[in-house]
């Protein structure tokens, strides 16, 4: 039974695919223990009952892309002692942030016969662009084990062990052959944060950066390698960088540079 001492956990959804909150339900072996350690106070995907705020931990999935979401995120911040952004949408804006370089009204006209019915913002932005966020967990989707580590660390009040080094370290530890060296593939591993267990190189394909930029990536070095050694054109470079974490600096800065070159 829930006790007063049990911390209250709330899960919020904004513009997203639900895949990161599904990460919680995908912790099959740990789920019942987790549910025993916290009180699941609000989690629409899993339960109907909602307990009143305040909440000890708020997990936020999704980016802010509508006027309503802009309002709701401020209430979420007020309601949660610790607010954690989970996944690429909430930490970078996600794939829907591609609108930030386009005309959202043109997008709306393309998809909907009556764009005037829609309520949408010109941009899709990460949670931290709106309110203070206590921690950001990267990934499209998040790694479930990292999510568990983060919740456990928050519950006992220590710093979570989440690596911020590049994917290459993970890849080398697994002893995988480098897909950039051996196959000449445009691998974003050297500038991407670890956390996925080097899934793409294991499949023999190039990392496409779903965990976003590592701490202090050397964008110009990898860019020069791709353009000079692999003959990638500026358009390919822009496209490669503008994916699930494209609106996050320094991916954004680099893709803007290649877009300028493309236009020249």
């Amino acid at each position: 039974m829930p006790t007063a001492a049990q911390p209250k956990l709330a899960v919020y959804k904004f513009s997203s695919c639900d895949g990161c909150q599904l990460g919680l339900l995908n912790l099959e072996d740990e789920l019942l223990t987790l549910v025993g350690a916290v009180q699941v106070a609000m989690f629409l995907e899993a339960r109907r009952d909602v307990l009143p705020p305040p909440y000890d931990i708020g997990l936020v999935e999704g980016s802010i892309s509508t006027p309503d979401e802009e309002e709701r995120i401020h209430q979420a911040r007020r309601d949660c002692k610790t607010l954690i952004a989970i996944g690429a949408c909430s930490t970078s804006g996600g794939i829907q942030a591609l609108r930030n370089w386009a005309d959202v009204h043109e997008y709306a006209r393309t998809v909907y016969p009556h764009p005037e019915y829609l309520q949408t913002l010109e941009t899709a932005t990460p949670i931290a662009a709106h309110v203070f966020v206590d921690f950001e967990l990267r990934g499209c989707p998040v790694n479930e084990k990292q999510l568990l580590e983060l919740i456990a660390a928050t519950l006992i009040g220590r710093r979570p062990h989440i690596r911020t080094h590049s994917l290459c370290v993970e890849c080398k530890r697994k002893g995988l052959p480098c897909v950039m060296v051996s196959q000449g593939l445009p691998c974003l591993g050297p500038v991407t944060q670890a956390g996925c267990n080097a899934l793409c190189p294991q499949c023999g394909r190039a990392c496409y950066g779903c965990f976003g930029p590592m701490e202090q990536p050397n964008m110009s070095a990898i860019g020069n390698h791709f353009t000079s050694k692999q003959n990638r054109n500026p358009r390919e470079m822009t496209r490669m960088l503008r994916l699930f974490n494209g609106y996050l600096e320094p991916f954004k800065q680099a893709s803007d540079k290649y877009e300028q070159r493309e236009k020249k």
């Binding site: 629409l44 016969p113 009556h114």
Partner: protein, 446 residues
């Protein structure tokens, strides 16, 4: 009393439909037993996939469309891959590549298992047994919840062995797979898959025997893939019980999509005919003769326990339909895993070309249909996606109208719960179904 009830206008408003792939709400206005309005509002923020897919390289598409839904990424990846393989004119080459179709079927089995089990036991069953969630249900039915978690875990493992991870896997590509897993990693899942299949057979009977299913018969048009020799999943023509029988590429021409003010999902109707239903009930009613023998031998027992033979016209029976499909997916997976031979090569090489292709596959919640046009260098110039929940939207609204007559004598909370329950029958993509029901009751005085 009865005259007061007859004159009572009430609005049942569900402000946050949780278990839909995205966000939705329900709005039902009743005047006595007359329904004045029944709307399924889908206000999921538009993310404009079809707009930003333009200008992307065709090879990027399956990775991008997977992100439409975290629960059924395989549905999006497979539909994108097949449609683009047609656009690139390599569809037949990929089909002839030994082992690739088997890998796609196995991954899809994994997705059906994890998604169906999540929906049946975590999201839908609490409605039937009178709990607010599986968390509360676990206190009285701990073993059932644990068994469900075991099944779900296996489903996720099946996806992960071919795709690296369960959510947004990275293995599949236009042309096949980036790499096929080692045989030993695949064979390692055989025993657990067989054990889970036995377990699911028991659970399917448990669900059929121990639950009282509400009655609501409607004359639906059921639409699903109908391959000749197998239960629908990845391939086949698209057919219905009312005469629709079209090639994949033609399906788009048969459907009229329109937008209404209360929804960011486009409404679909079959031209000159109207609303239709996709999903497990449609698949089962149209293809029950093609179930795997394990599921086929269970079917008469389930029908007997329910007292209903096929076709089932009651979508509350989507729960036993999902259970049968889960048995089918587990049994099929066990067979395919045991016979797995690592395909080499695992994909065909593609020279980009200008083309057009359309294909739909059976997401756990129904047909997910994609259409693309490409330029000479493989750049996407047009993308068109019809997800299952959008196709079911009008049918859900019609169900709500039909059911409203049963709600007249219920108090507000019970009526709201019944409405939520009905919407959850459709397993609206990740299910955040109808929570936060708010009732405003107005009394009209004459």
């Amino acid at each position: 009393m009865s005259s007061e009830k007859k004159n009572r206008q009430r609005t049942i408003a569900v402000n946050a439909l949780a278990r839909v792939e995205g966000e939705g709400a329900l709005h039902l206005v009743m005047d006595g037993s007359n329904v004045k309005e029944a709307k399924l509002r889908i206000y999921e923020p538009p993310r404009f996939y079809e707009a930003f897919l333009r200008g992307r390289d065709f090879r990027e598409v399956p990775d991008i469309t997977a992100r439409i839904c975290g629960i059924c990424p395989i549905a999006y990846q497979t539909a994108s891959c097949y449609a683009l393989e047609k656009a690139m004119d390599v569809f037949d080459d990929v089909q002839q590549l030994p082992g690739v179709q088997v890998m796609r079927d196995l991954m899809y089995c994994g997705e059906w298992i994890e998604s169906h089990v999540l929906h049946m036991f975590m999201l839908h069953l609490p409605d039937f047994l009178g709990y607010e969630s599986a968390i509360s249900m676990a206190k009285d039915h701990g073993d059932t919840v644990k068994q469900a978690l075991r099944l779900k875990k296996l489903g996720n493992q099946l996806v992960a062995v071919f795709g690296g991870r369960a959510v947004h896997p990275v293995g599949m590509c236009v042309g096949g797979f980036h790499r096929a897993p080692q045989q030993k990693n695949v064979l390692a899942l055989v025993d657990e898959t067989k054990a889970c299949c036995d377990l699911m057979c028991e659970l399917a009977l448990f669900l059929a025997e121990n639950i009282d299913y509400p009655d609501m018969q409607r004359d639906y048009e059921f639409v699903s893939l109908c391959p000749e020799n197998e239960y629908p999943m990845n391939l086949g023509r698209i057919c219905s019980n009312k005469g629709l029988d079209v090639d994949q590429a033609d399906f788009g021409n048969q459907i009229q999509e329109s937008q209404v003010e209360h929804s960011t999902a486009l409404h679909s109707v079959i031209k000159r005919r109207g609303a239709y239903m996709v999903g497990p009930l449609a698949r089962l009613n149209l293809n029950s003769d093609k179930l795997h023998p394990r599921a086929a031998e269970l079917l008469p027992k389930v029908c007997k326990a329910l007292g209903k033979s096929l076709p089932w016209q009651n979508n509350f029976l989507s729960l036993p339909a999902r259970a049968l499909e889960t048995v089918h997916a587990l049994a099929l997976a066990a067979d395919l895993l045991a016979a797995y031979q690592r395909p080499t090569p695992s994909h065909v090489n593609i020279t980009p070309r200008a083309g057009h292709g359309a294909h739909g596959t059976e997401a756990p919640r129904g047909l997910c249909w994609h259409e693309y046009r490409t330029e000479e260098d493989g750049t996407i110039s047009m993308a068109h996606i019809m997800p299952p929940t959008a196709q079911n939207q009008l049918t859900i609204e019609a169900d709500l109208r039909e059911m409203a007559a049963q709600l007249v004598d219920m108090d507000d909370q019970a009526a709201a719960l019944r409405c939520e329950h009905l919407i959850r029958n459709y397993d609206p993509c990740i299910s955040c179904s109808v929570h936060f029901l708010k009732f405003d009751r107005q009394f009209i005085t004459q």
